[in-house]
Symmetry: C2
């Protein structure tokens, strides 16, 4: 029904360079060298793997989801073999630290590569993404023994990992976790039930390392009493033999999308206790888990980007070939020539590019925070990454839902039929706003933690960079003047609104809850405009001779006229504050 | 997992009365009497049927879709029995004309009742909706013999109907239809293939009356050469015996949603020709089919409304019971108390109510056009209905996608799981913007036919009614002053933009294509504000003593602050005209 996923290498490299420049990552000579040496070839080779191995399995996984057999998960046909090739090709280790036998490439490259896995097969791609988070967590918080015993397996990809947070009564609010860990010599025994565990069991590898949040005896109430444990599906002996731990798969969810990704309900400790080892400090579990969570949140931005890119590819290709509707001259035209189809395609493309650049910029900021020599530069990178991570997660995931819906619409009736990949893409996209912290949790993180705590310092710095980008756009080029003025007025308005929220949030318990969503989406729209301003400024000198550069400048103008007007809508809502939300007598409706 | 569908009788009756008043239907004494006599009891009884018979089958149909067996469609378990009860209770005949042995109730009541069928079970509800369209078409365009032989069966519900337009090469553009009809005595023989035929075959009744668009020998090119034929699945003899016609079911589509509704690919005439009879004038098929299409387009508005109402019910009930997150006092709170959840619920509710009132107003306008004694009043009703039908179809179907997505979001991870009805609702909603003319086809109809042809006369009349409604809102009540001012400035701006389009469309071939979508959605947002203004004005005097009236006034204010700002976004896009869409070098992207 449709052609295979094709990695958009040219535009990915362009976005990668843009992120390097705008974050200052390009100022680190070692990184700049690394990127110019390997980015092109790594991306090309990853694109080939995505197209040839992962993309053909995407529909297979949707039609034949993972299933439970004799208490163990059997993955979709072909997934096990694809994973073996994936690990054997070294793809698991791309951005893993060199100290842990990883390739030590920048996260930026890792993210560009992950975009391809998830564009080709989002259900598959979640599995390595979880391992990246676990590698990060064990690298930073694990004991020496843990790092020696477990990390090489994760980095090689011969084991994978899962993140066990949610329990039936404990979703967005982790303070009510009931899974308990009891001391047992130098280890612990865990008892409890976890739900919605992505890739919580499978047959791709012989072991799964669970990272489990649990409560220890006498621990303080709430999130301050939660600890993180490494609980392997099978426990390795010193000699390397594996013995089953006490973890049972109770059931698998049947889901709307990403159906090849097994979502497990797990029971720990039904036969005496699942053996686990403490990761990080006792009662410091939430902070350690956030190492994984932040990777996964950026991972959702990447996943959403990949899904949106795929929606765009399918819609563009369909619009080029499907003929419908005559023009005055007589012959039927490919629907890409119809203005409304162009409008939808340009909306998709302008959002996908904005999402890609924003996601890459987040990754590049993390690289700056890790790799810069100057402590101040590292701190600035850290604070930018902190601000951009929830933004990228929540904005890109909403974008993916919108873009995949436009993709369905362009396909017409076919878009509603299972055999059409656009319909799967639409279902797959819907998880993004929900998991790894709902999009409201992201808005709360953005406003409540990242903006209120430093009283807007990081936000102001970001908005100033956005204003700088707007300032260099030439007013005389169609669309770009509009982009500059819309972005400039938007940034000033958001700065003011942010200031008001900082002043009043303490006295208005519902303010962040009531306006957080629209505040985040507003910043997202502006950040997308910022990225388009950077792209347009770079492309403009080549626009007369280079058709792709011309198209980029045009699409920047389209973003200004068709997407940027959302900013004033979000602004109007944010400025009304909490009253409309809190005053309504909703119970009577 | 969830409670049964519960018809919102109180708010439906309120919307019904509002539509009667605002369209002038209430000025027709006979209709007013009819409505006050029967609306309450008919709605109550329909609500009971929807809750008890149709709602329990909604999930069944999703899990066990219609299937093909030995060349015939077998419907989902329970559907056949439910349909028998439906027909036996006389539900098929509610708004059918009295001359055809129908109950002759206003379309307004028919639409309110249809909302319940589709709220409870949208896949089921499509089947009677198609028959309503066919009854209308045969009543208006059928021969006396046709009306005697076929109509009583449709009105009693012992036969159903299907609408056969689309062919593989002919979707939005019907000019390329290839199915041909050859004369055969007093009848015709049809040959061709039709796809996407909803309820094109089934086991609910012993016969299906197909309304088929086809081309006759020597007919003019394009849509002016298309004729409409009645082609029964089984041909009744004078004595009542049924003989199989030459129509084969080639396949059934596997769909994202409304899975219990069998979507057939049909072959006509593989064994010598399917016998058919001409409906309406030769080569006048498209106009006759539009009798059905207009019913079905309003039907999509109703379906979208029902789906959105169901999404709201499920989300509200879940938010009342699901506890998550503590407040300062300690205990966990039902999530309906969290500001962001309230924001989502209020967005849903404010959109659902606007969609209901707009849909009912469209139906009431049709009743005015049919039943008013004064010819001018009838003509005004006709032109309002003509304007509102594409608006209601396209706006309400976009709303349903949005509202059902918010419903998923409120359910969190559960919303992504098949067993959660909210997830089905999300998939079911996605067809609305596509079928019975894509939403762009609606925008083209609205601007190209309904607005350009009378040079904005009907639009101006509608906007003036909206301005009148805004003018009577008191400025001093929180939210209502905002509603009045937003609605007023929006109507003036849209009037200006409409005027510009009327002046320039003839010289700008891409204008309607480029701005049609946003123009329609803009008018929709304002029309929703109009309906909320009418509701708020009526509720306000009771708001101090009646909690429901209070909640309605509050929600009108919420619409003003959170939904109405979309108007300025659509305005900005429309005012930019075609350039951003047509100038972009999309081929290079």
């Amino acid at each position: 029904m449709s052609s295979a996923y094709e990695a958009p290498l040219h535009i990915q490299l362009l976005a990668l360079e843009q992120a390097c420049r705008s974050t200052g990552l390009a100022d680190l000579p070692e990184v700049r060298q690394l990127i110019s040496d390997v980015a092109g070839s790594v991306l090309e080779s990853a694109g080939k793997f995505a197209r040839e191995v992962l993309s053909p399995l995407n529909g297979v996984g949707d039609r034949s989801p993972a299933r439970l057999e004799a208490g163990r998960v059997v993955t979709s046909p072909g997934f096990s073999d694809a994973y073996r090739q994936f690990a054997a090709s070294g793809w698991m280790s791309v951005s893993a630290p060199a100290e842990e036998q990883g390739q030590g490439l920048p996260h930026l490259i890792g993210v560009a590569v992950s975009e391809m896995w998830t564009g080709a097969n989002p259900a598959f791609a979640m599995c390595p993404e979880l391992a990246i988070g676990a590698i990060e967590a064990l690298h930073r918080h694990g004991t020496v023994e843990m790092r020696e015993r477990y990390l090489p397996h994760l980095v090689r990809g011969d084991w994978t990992s899962a993140m066990c947070l949610t329990e039936p009564q404990s979703g967005s609010d982790l303070s009510t976790i009931r899974t308990r860990a009891e001391p047992d010599g130098d280890a612990w025994r865990l008892f409890g039930r976890k739900i919605y565990i992505s890739w919580g069991d499978h047959d791709l590898t012989e072991n799964v390392l669970h990272l489990v949040l649990a409560r220890t005896p006498g621990a303080p109430q709430g999130v301050k009493g939660i600890s993180l444990f490494l609980v392997p599906k099978r426990i390795p002996s010193a000699g390397g033999a594996l013995a089953d731990n006490d973890i049972a798969v109770l059931s698998l969810e049947h889901k709307m999308g990403i159906r090849a990704s097994p979502t497990c309900a797990l029971a720990l400790g039904e036969r005496g206790g699942a053996r686990g080892w403490l990761v990080g400090p006792l009662h410091g579990g939430l902070a350690c888990m956030f190492t994984v969570m932040n990777v996964m949140r950026l991972g959702v931005a990447v996943q959403s980007l990949g899904i949106a890119e795929r929606a765009w590819q399918l819609a563009r290709d369909y619009a080029r070939t499907r003929r419908q509707g005559r023009n005055a001259a007589g012959p039927e035209r490919p629907i890409i020539e119809h203005a409304d189809v162009r409008r939808m395609l340009l909306t998709m493309k302008s959002l996908v590019h904005a999402a890609r650049c924003l996601t890459y910029t987040t990754a590049a900021s993390i690289d700056v925070a890790r790799r810069a020599e100057d402590e101040k530069v590292r701190a600035a990178g850290e604070s930018t990454a902190g601000l951009l991570t929830p933004l990228a997660k929540a904005w890109c995931s909403e974008i993916a839902v919108e873009v995949s819906s436009l993709g369905v619409q362009i396909h017409g009736g076919l878009g509603f039929i299972d055999e059409c990949e656009a319909s799967q893409v639409y279902r797959d996209a819907r998880i993004g706003p929900i998991f790894e912290g709902t999009n409201f949790i992201q808005a709360q993180d953005l406003l409540g933690r990242k903006i209120l705590r430093d009283r807007g310092a990081a936000l102001t710095a970001l908005l100033d960079r956005m204003l700088d980008a707007a300032a260099v756009l030439p007013a005389g080029v169609a669309g770009l003047g509009e982009l500059a003025s819309g972005l400039t007025s938007g940034c000033h308005a958001l700065k003011r609104a942010g200031g008001t929220i900082i002043e009043t949030a303490a006295g208005d318990a519902n303010l962040i809850g009531a306006v957080g969503h629209h505040f985040l989406q507003w910043l997202g729209v502006l950040a997308g405009g910022w990225q388009w301003a950077l792209t347009a400024a770079e492309a403009l000198p080549r626009a007369h001779t280079d058709a792709t550069a011309r198209a980029l400048v045009d699409t920047a103008g389209f973003y200004a006229s068709h997407v940027l007007p959302r900013a004033t809508m979000h602004e109007a809502i944010v400025r009304r504050g909490a009253d409309p939300v809190t005053n309504a007598a909703i119970a009577e409706l």
